[in-house]
């Protein structure tokens, strides 16, 4: 099986990497299934365990003729049009933009021995990279021996399509998010186009939630029979992470953790915090993450005069995330549009009760969580207050929520993916 991803731990900028990693790990437990995971760039410190990890920049291109010019031209055209960065971690984004300003390159550069260089992250010359990736894929499609192609999200769709075209093997697309989620409705036509083409070409599509499945069917006009929902799961906590579970603050802590972007609904969290702070003083709110709305959120908190109780941490990584959970009493995910949303599951693993929006895929699978509409600030505030003040509720969530989330294993999701493969091959 040939799998195209965009990132792999430890170089992860978002849920997509976590999910494709978890799933791939889960699939390694299925006997007889061999995975070849392709990502744009291997840094050398990834942990491939049982799978064969191919960095696209380690594939030699020189011996192949590239006949994907038609596709590439289209993409090149788009690139001129758009400097929008679809899905990126903000630090990376800033660095990239600076690079662009200083006039660094955005053409295909074949280094000596004919290798194409990839940045290995989400950059502003993303479309170029996608195209390059597709070229590599067509090479792999010809040379590797595999039965099925599995591509994660639109970034890898062209690669998946290229490999399919070369090899004639069935293509499974895994949709973790669509551009409707990322953009809050105003889709980038170029991205939409890639997504739609990919979905139409695919033999089967896996959506991470019914929420996403509906988007695929309704917004992209895809045949419902082709689209299956397979919910995500969560990696069990490591021993180190378990040790981090202790609380050191006196005030109660309510946490938002995620990119501070339109999609995640940070402004609703601030408004809810304001309402709660009118009634309670022994509570603090934390917004962990960074993103394009960051400054606006800081300003908003200040203008509501709650800055003394509302804290911003910036982007948190790895261990810091778990430390954040370990001091949290409530976790809120007010996403406007969330195909799945693994982070509430991670919070629950750390015994933190969660509030999630109805507009998230994860709300389809969780029982022990409070669910609200992202725009319903009153309901959100009420839920926060309820969890902080009525111990029976938070105790119940801590106890049963942990059990619930511990039963959500990647092995189960992987098993379902394997069933999709089997259907493709028979």
């Amino acid at each position: 099986m040939l799998m195209f991803g965009w990132e792999f731990p430890p170089h992860i900028s978002g849920g997509l990497g976590t999910a494709s990693f978890g799933l791939t790990r889960g699939m390694t437990k299925i006997p007889g299934l061999q995975i070849r995971f392709v990502i744009p760039k291997t840094f050398g410190d990834e942990d491939p365990r049982k799978l064969e990890l191919i960095g696209a920049n380690n594939v030699s291109l020189s011996r192949r003729k590239i006949n994907y010019e038609g596709f590439l031209r289209e993409i090149e055209y788009i690139e001129v049009d758009s400097m929008l960065v679809p899905y990126t971690d903000p630090e990376e984004y800033e660095r990239k933009v600076k690079e662009a300003k200083t006039g660094s390159t955005s053409f295909i550069q074949t280094s000596f021995r004919g290798r194409i260089d990839f940045s290995g992250g989400y950059g502003h010359n993303l479309f170029q990279e996608i195209a390059n990736y597709a070229i590599v894929a067509s090479v792999l499609g010809e040379s590797s021996d595999f039965d099925i192609i599995h591509a994660h999200d639109w970034l890898t769709f062209p690669a998946g399509m290229a490999a399919k075209k070369k090899s004639g093997k069935p293509l499974v697309l895994h949709v973790h998010a669509t551009d409707f989620d990322r953009s809050g409705g105003s889709v980038n036509p170029a991205v939409f186009d890639i997504e739609k083409k990919g979905m139409e070409a695919a033999d089967a599509i896996i959506a991470v939630s019914n929420f996403t499945r509906n988007t695929i069917i309704e917004k992209y006009g895809i045949d419902p029979d082709k689209v299956v929902t397979i919910h995500n799961a969560v990696e069990p906590l490591g021993e180190l992470e378990k040790k981090a579970l202790r609380k050191s603050v006196n005030d109660r802590v309510v946490t938002f953790l995620g990119r501070v972007t339109l999609q995640k609904g940070p402004e609703f969290f601030i408004e809810a915090a304001y309402k709660v702070l009118q009634k309670m003083s022994n509570v603090r709110f934390v917004m962990a993450g960074s993103g394009e709305l960051y400054e606006r959120m800081v300003l908003r908190a200040a203008s509501l005069r709650i800055a003394d109780k509302f804290h911003f941490t910036g982007f948190l990584k790895g261990d810091e995330v778990h430390r954040m959970f370990s001091i949290s009493d409530v976790y809120v995910m007010p996403s406007v549009s969330e195909p799945f949303g693994i982070s509430p599951l991670e919070a629950m693993q750390s015994n933190v009760p969660v509030i999630i929006s109805h507009q998230s895929g994860v709300s389809e699978v969780l029982q022990y969580a409070l669910k609200i509409d992202f725009w319903d600030v009153d309901a959100m505030a009420d839920a926060i207050y309820g969890l902080l003040n009525y111990s029976a509720l938070s105790d119940m969530f801590k106890h049963f929520g942990k059990v619930e989330v511990d039963n959500m294993k990647w092995e189960n999701s992987a098993q379902k993916v394997n069933e999709v493969y089997k259907r493709m091959l028979t």
Partner: protein, 496 residues
């Protein structure tokens, strides 16, 4: 003679509005008037009015051969009065036929029988009085909220003077026994126990319109055939169900109202059954044995236990917090607080918090204003928090009033004491001056006119010669009247 006992339960809760935490301490109105009124009117139109009409016609047609029994919660009656008074009239008309029995229950449709005897008694009495006022009927048989019953609850019911009680014919309680007989309570065997035949009751109440049911459609002929299959010696078939079965749980279009209309006719023509009421059965039949119910049962869900209301930590915390207020609520007499406390006790609030049916929650979602049990819990706890604030405010206002009143009394008594002490002093002075005789009248007049300045002494003393005979009694009176205020003062301080 074999009997059918038809008993219909009527209850509609006062549903709470969406009550957010920021309302706590600010908004003290808890009810969703629009929702309550519209549901009440809808159910009245679809069920109560048309079904009452059918029953009335049946009674008129069959005279004393057809009888029915109702239990109507106090809260449902309150809502009839508010939103659908015509329903009350229609029940009055039924009551007027003399063929209808009314049962007693807890006014608030509450679970208080599990918690507090005194409050239980007072709610049942309140309900009895309401039924008597509205329908001129004094209930002699009791049915508890959701048919909740245990040996201990039965004993309490007997203590209140009831002849008998109705409950579920739960399999795990009956074992091989049949629900089709009269039983007695083991603690107080004077109390008769009638058990619901849940198979035949639920055939009508739950399965009537279920197309997936192998016996669908249910006709009166089929039902009477089943009645006839019951062993010859069985004495009574107790069909207990929600009245909303007729027209609301099953809509008119399913034929349920026709079923009700034609059931007596088929029973009379095709069987030897006749209709009876619980009070009558308890007169006519002899209990066949005791029925032991050590743990409370109910008529809810497969389990027939209490887990629908008190099965998870949310329900328990809410329930306990509510009844923690019982002591305080007894020491206030604010009508609004008492009313809200009654409505806070409705079992429905706890039912909405049930987490048993995450997957097949449809039974619990009937008229449930909440999407999830958690919302129901948070909403309830918010309201309870506000209620507690009001209750405490009332209590402290009361004790403030009390304090003011007491300190006033103390101040008055202090003045009196001072005055008497002064008089005493003067008396001593006058005694030592050789004036030993005082007028009794003068002394006894003094407390009545305490503000009179002591300067008048000259006039008083000048009239002192008048009645020498009474001086002894006057002296004792005087010493008493000096002591008394001191005692009172100590008492009142102690109270404070």
């Amino acid at each position: 003679m074999r009997n059918i006992c038809l008993y219909f339960q009527i209850h509609q809760p006062f549903r709470f509005r969406r009550y957010r935490f920021f309302d706590i301490g600010n908004e003290h109105y808890y009810y969703d008037d629009y929702l309550n009124e519209s549901i009440m009117q809808k159910v009245a139109d679809k069920c109560y009015i048309p079904a009452n009409r059918i029953l009335l016609d049946l009674i008129k047609k069959y005279k004393d051969r057809f009888k029915v029994t109702f239990s109507i919660s106090g809260i449902a009656l309150d809502q009839f009065e508010l939103y659908a008074p015509e329903v009350i009239d229609s029940f009055r008309e039924l009551a007027g036929t003399g063929q209808v029995e009314f049962l007693a229950e807890t006014y608030a449709h509450s679970l208080v029988s599990l918690k507090d005897k005194e409050e239980f008694f007072s709610q049942v009495r309140q309900h009895q009085e309401k039924i008597q006022t509205l329908f001129g009927y004094k209930p002699v048989v009791f049915r508890n909220t959701e048919l909740i019953y245990s040996d201990d609850i039965g004993a309490l019911v007997a203590d209140m003077g009831f002849k008998g009680v109705l409950t579920e014919g739960a399999k795990h309680v009956l074992g091989w026994k049949s629900p089709n007989y009269l039983y007695a309570n083991p603690i107080n065997p004077k109390l008769k126990v009638l058990l619901k035949n849940f198979k035949l009751s639920d055939d009508i109440a739950f399965r009537f319109s279920n197309h997936g049911w192998s016996e669908y459609p249910l006709t009166t002929e089929k039902f009477v055939k089943w009645l006839n299959k019951i062993p010859k010696n069985d004495e009574t078939v107790n069909l207990f169900m929600d009245y909303e079965t007729f027209g609301e749980h099953h809509w008119k279009e399913t034929g349920i109202l026709e079923f009700l209309k034609h059931l007596p006719e088929t029973v009379f023509s095709k069987s030897k059954f006749s209709f009876s009421t619980p009070a009558q059965l308890m007169e006519d039949l002899q209990p066949v044995s005791l029925v032991n119910v050590p743990n409370p049962i109910s008529w809810a869900d497969e389990e027939r236990d209490l887990t629908a209301w008190l099965g998870n930590p949310l329900q328990e915390q809410a329930f306990n917090k509510l009844y923690d207020l019982l002591g305080n609520i007894r020491s206030v007499d604010n009508r609004e607080l008492k009313r809200d406390f009654t409505y806070l006790q409705q079992s429905d609030h706890f039912y909405y918090m049930c987490t048993k049916f995450f997957s097949d929650g449809d039974v619990h979602s009937y008229f449930n204003p909440f999407d999830t049990p958690y919302e129901a819990f948070i909403n309830y706890m918010n309201i309870l928090s506000d209620f507690e604030i009001r209750l405490n405010a009332e209590l402290s206002a009361k004790s403030d009033d009390e304090a003011v009143r007491l300190s006033k009394i103390i101040a008055e008594k202090d003045q009196l004491i001072k005055k008497y002490e002064k008089q005493l002093g003067e008396e001593r002075v006058s005694r030592s001056a050789g004036l030993h005789k005082m007028s009794g009248e003068e002394i006894s007049n003094k407390p009545a006119a305490p503000k009179k300045p002591a300067r008048s002494k000259v006039t008083k003393i000048s009239g002192a010669n008048a009645a020498t005979a009474k001086s002894k009694t006057a002296k004792t009176k005087k010493s008493e009247s000096v002591k008394k205020p001191v005692v009172k003062k100590e008492n009142s301080r102690g109270k404070k």
